[in-house]
């Protein structure tokens, strides 16, 4: 497999240089703003506001990051990172559990209205969070879940996309396998745990990465339902750090926060990269 791919894009001489040049240029363009943010997080406030902007890191790295992590502007960044982590993991795990079990029900059980349920779930694909945000807010407020982790997580858990993906995957698993398990005496839940779940491992990993980032990047919903700064998530928290009125923005601390906000998704992607790619490319059958 790996050899085929290298063979596919094999180039020699000039072509090789050209592709690399284009690639490097692309990386620089994407990387430059991140670099600037990093530089800004290592200098002092006066250095940033005085043109020209510095292009090389200064000597305030430790001070700025310590300030961000433990003091922040409204609330320590550590708290917001923790909130974001709980929310992102909660959403990813919740979505995976819900969609695995609903796909299992839809594919392996014959119950009245099975197809109707599938299409209902499918329909919700067309209703993103933003469209149903007002009624959802009403419901969550009614349950008294404002400023709580439940409020952050539950409304985002139902997932048509993941249910649909798992359904498609389950449909590719031969019926004979379920029948073999049935003959072996496995109950439906044993079949789910012992066979379906391990076979879905790579798909689950791929979805976890995607859903973690989805959860991490939520902005509008946390903004609406968390009024207490100690419940802020980091992505919305960065925006909250911008001063209103005439106060000066503490740019080094804001930039340090931005850099910190990027680290967890990057760590998740890198640590799960192998499983993630396998989940997208092939399924173990």
């Amino acid at each position: 497999m790996a050899r085929e791919i290298t063979g596919m894009v094999e180039r020699r001489g000039f072509g090789l240089w050209l592709t690399h040049l284009v690639m490097i240029a692309g990386v620089l363009v994407i990387f430059f703003p991140i670099w600037l943010a990093f530089v800004a997080s290592t200098v002092t406030q006066p250095e940033i506001v005085r043109p020209p902007m510095p292009l090389w890191p200064g000597d305030q790295l430790i001070e700025n990051y310590t300030a961000a992590l433990f003091a922040g502007v409204n609330v320590p960044v550590l708290t917001m990172l923790g909130n974001s982590l709980i929310m992102a993991v909660g959403i990813a795990v919740g979505k995976i559990i819900i969609s695995l079990t609903s796909a299992f029900a839809i594919v392996y059980f014959r119950f009245p209205g099975r197809n109707m349920f599938f299409w209902l779930i499918f329909l919700t694909l067309m209703l993103p969070v933003e469209v149903r945000i007002v009624p959802t807010y009403e419901v969550i407020a009614g349950f008294g879940m404002l400023n709580s982790y439940q409020g952050l997580i539950f409304p985002l858990i139902a997932s048509a996309t993941a249910t649909f993906l798992f359904r498609q995957f389950f449909l590719t698993i031969p019926d004979e396998l379920a029948e073999a398990a049935h003959v072996d005496g496995a109950s439906p839940m044993q079949f789910f745990w012992d066979i379906l779940l391990p076979m879905s491992r790579t798909n689950i990993a791929a979805l976890f990465v995607i859903l973690f980032i989805y959860g991490w990047n939520q902005y509008l919903w946390p903004l609406l339902i968390t009024t207490d700064p100690s419940m802020n998530t980091i992505v919305m928290g960065i925006r909250q750090m911008f001063p209103s009125g005439d106060d000066v923005a503490d740019w080094p601390v804001i930039m340090a926060t931005s850099i910190l906000a990027m680290i967890p998704p990057v760590v998740v992607v890198i640590s799960m990269q192998k499983l993630f790619i396998r989940g997208l490319v092939d399924s173990e059958k």
Partner: protein, 349 residues
């Protein structure tokens, strides 16, 4: 080990009756082959015995228990599937032991049973591999192993060899039969390959469109086919079937006069096996040979009769055609003539 009895078993999917009443008594340790063309309901019948399909009507007994409403697990059966259905993420040993694990046996006991079965099937070296690291024949063996470890009283096979190449199929055929004889486990075996049916069966069921056309030993079915369908399905090359007329104490095919073993009067279907024909200068059957297929031990001669019907003869030895279209006179002993009712296809005499 157990007897299995099917009493007028029927299966309907919606309005269509796929199995139209099959009755069969399987003796303890007997090897039964269910054979028939694609779509005749072989798998459905087997799956009803397995408990994977509900029985619409009739009674199924395994051992001395009524099994209609038992879960597969409680029927004391094991099944080998066409595509083996091995769990892809489990090792060979785990695949074989999964049923035992579900049954709650202690780990050590599972390991011993798996090791014993693996030894029997020469799988010992492969126990730690995953199914995808095995050849087709080895996967087939693992599927067998999974069935054996549970020491069931009935084995069910659904076309287990159809994914193997011809040579391996012959070898596995022997292995399965030997193993079954050694373990003495009652078996139902589905195939659409009549050679498999002939060579493996103690008794076979020839199925057609949801009905059992004939139930009997392979030789029974070959020598005294109960219906025209069974006659044509079993035997290779398949039987010549001609429409003839019985009158004046003989059977007439156009102006060819053949003996009339049953004395039947009027139109009737006559079946002649190609291998029962012998060249005879006085023979009543006159065939124009168009094509010769030498198979080594014998030669298939394809051609047509004076009436225009296609006809095949299988003669021992080598017969080269000197030129196309030569005529050949053949005769057949009356004992090898099979007569069937024109309307119902039932055997006469």
């Amino acid at each position: 080990m157990a007897t299995v009895s099917l009493d007028n078993i029927k299966k309907r999917f919606g309005p269509t009756e796929v199995i139209q009443g099959v009755s069969l008594d399987v003796a303890d340790g007997e090897f039964i082959v269910i054979v028939g063309p694609s779509g005749c309901g072989k798998s459905t019948l087997l799956r009803m015995v397995a408990g994977l399909e509900t029985i619409t009507e009739g009674e199924l007994r395994i051992g001395d228990r009524r099994a209609n409403d038992l879960e597969p697990m409680d029927r004391d059966i094991a099944m080998v599937f066409q595509n083996y259905a091995l769990y892809p993420h489990m090792s060979v040993a785990q695949n074989m032991g999964y049923g035992l694990k579900i049954a709650g046996l202690p780990k050590a006991e599972i390991a011993t049973k798996v090791a014993d079965a693996a030894k029997l099937l020469q799988l010992t070296e492969l126990l730690d591999r995953k199914p995808r690291q095995l050849s087709g024949g080895q996967r087939q063996r693992v599927a067998m192993g999974r069935a054996i470890v549970r020491a069931p009283s009935v084995f069910l096979f659904d076309e287990p060899l159809s994914n193997l190449d011809a040579k391996l199929r012959v070898q596995m055929r022997l292995e399965i039969r030997e193993l079954q004889a050694k373990l003495g486990i009652t078996s139902l075996y589905v195939t659409h390959d009549q050679v498999e049916a002939m060579t493996m069966a103690d008794r076979m069921i020839v199925m057609n469109a949801g009905r059992a056309e004939q139930i009997g030993t392979p030789l029974d079915v070959y020598e005294r086919p109960a219906t025209l369908f069974a006659a044509q399905f079993i035997g290779s090359p398949s039987m010549n079937v001609l429409e003839v007329e019985g009158r004046d104490g003989a059977l007439w095919l156009g102006d060819m006069r053949l003996p009339n073993p049953t004395g039947h009067i009027g139109p009737v279907m006559l079946g002649l096996r190609p291998e029962h024909l012998t060249p005879d200068p006085e023979g009543a059957i006159v065939m124009q040979v168009l094509l010769a297929e030498p198979l080594g031990a014998n030669t298939l001669l394809h051609g047509k009769l004076a009436t225009g019907q296609g006809f095949t003869a299988s003669l021992p030895g080598v017969h080269a055609l000197s030129h196309g279209g030569e005529t050949l006179r053949l005769s057949i002993s009356p004992a090898n003539m099979h007569l069937f009712d024109t309307a119902t296809g039932a055997r006469l005499g």
